[in-house]
């Protein structure tokens, strides 16, 4: 498996560390209620198909959001979490990082 790092280009999976689902980026507001927080912390989809998750490229120290297909192992897109978080903040100004 190879993952295209936005900094370094296509690299071997051994250079990466898996973190978890990309929903970690979408943190609920502090007063969003127990259900939202329970879902954020514990509930994960396990899709047969397109999924988004977070990887760390150890050598260059970049957090990357990877969109990939669990059926075909195809990587559909990758981008820096820095950019994804900025987009999220722009979309939801009330949510703090």
């Amino acid at each position: 498996m190879r993952i295209p790092c936005p900094c370094c280009g296509s690299r071997d999976r051994r250079e990466f560390t898996y973190y978890g689902a990309a929903v970690f980026l979408d943190r609920p507001a502090p007063d969003a209620g127990l259900e939202a927080w329970d879902g954020y912390l514990h509930l994960r989809d396990n899709p047969a198909g397109v999924t988004r998750d977070l990887w760390y490229h150890d050598p260059c120290a970049a957090w990357i959001e990877v969109e990939r297909d669990t059926l075909t192992h195809r990587i559909l897109s990758t981008h820096l979490v820095e950019d994804a978080a900025a987009a999220l903040r722009a979309a939801r100004p009330e949510a703090q990082p």
């Binding site: 900094c7 280009g9 690299r11 250079e15």
Partner: protein, 179 residues
């Protein structure tokens, strides 16, 4: 007080096995340059004839070099950082923090290929560029000075392991050539 002599890890190393040679390398002063968020360091680097390198690139001028070394991070090699740089970037002296070796010879790529998942073909890792990657379990910075010449840097505490891994790979490549 005892008179302590400064030295570098792997000082004096110069080992040829098969068609590869591993030698100690003193890159001179090495400073990591991490620009503060939103700040541009190009003006501060201009007195050295340098600017902040895009990913994978090495810029050289007047004996100094600056090599990309990670996301928003570069290593200034062989020069004192200009004073103006301190205002726009986090500077850390890495001279003693990393150990450098030079791997050369016709089998240098073959040796390195045993240790790193990096694509070492010149079409993917061009001469004059730099890559952050791993050498087995060690985080590494590799500068390709020539098609068969690599400057390799890892954390200084791993100097012994780096030496062991590289010479072992050199022995194996040489042994295979004899078959």
């Amino acid at each position: 007080m005892a008179d302590l002599k400064p030295t570098v890890p792997l000082a004096g190393l110069n080992e040829a096995i098969g068609r590869a040679r591993l030698a100690a390398l003193d890159p001179g002063r090495v400073t990591s340059v991490a620009p503060w968020p939103g700040r541009n360091v190009d003006a501060a680097l201009a007195p050295l004839g340098l600017h902040f390198p895009p990913p994978g690139t090495v810029i050289a001028a007047q004996g100094a070099r600056i090599a990309w070394a990670g996301r928003q991070l570069a290593f200034l090699i062989g020069a004192e950082p200009p004073a103006a740089l301190a205002g726009v970037a986090a500077l850390t002296d890495q001279s003693d923090g990393w150990v450098w070796v030079h791997l050369s010879g016709a089998d240098a790529s073959a040796v390195l290929a045993r240790l790193t998942p990096l694509d070492l073909r010149p079409s993917a890792f061009a001469v004059g560029t730099v890559a952050r990657t791993v050498i087995n379990h060690m985080q590494a910075l590799i500068l390709r000075g020539a098609e068969d010449g690599f400057e390799i840097a890892v954390f200084a505490s791993m100097a012994g392991t780096l030496h062991h891994e590289l010479t072992e790979a050199m022995r194996l490549v040489a042994a295979r050539a004899r078959i």
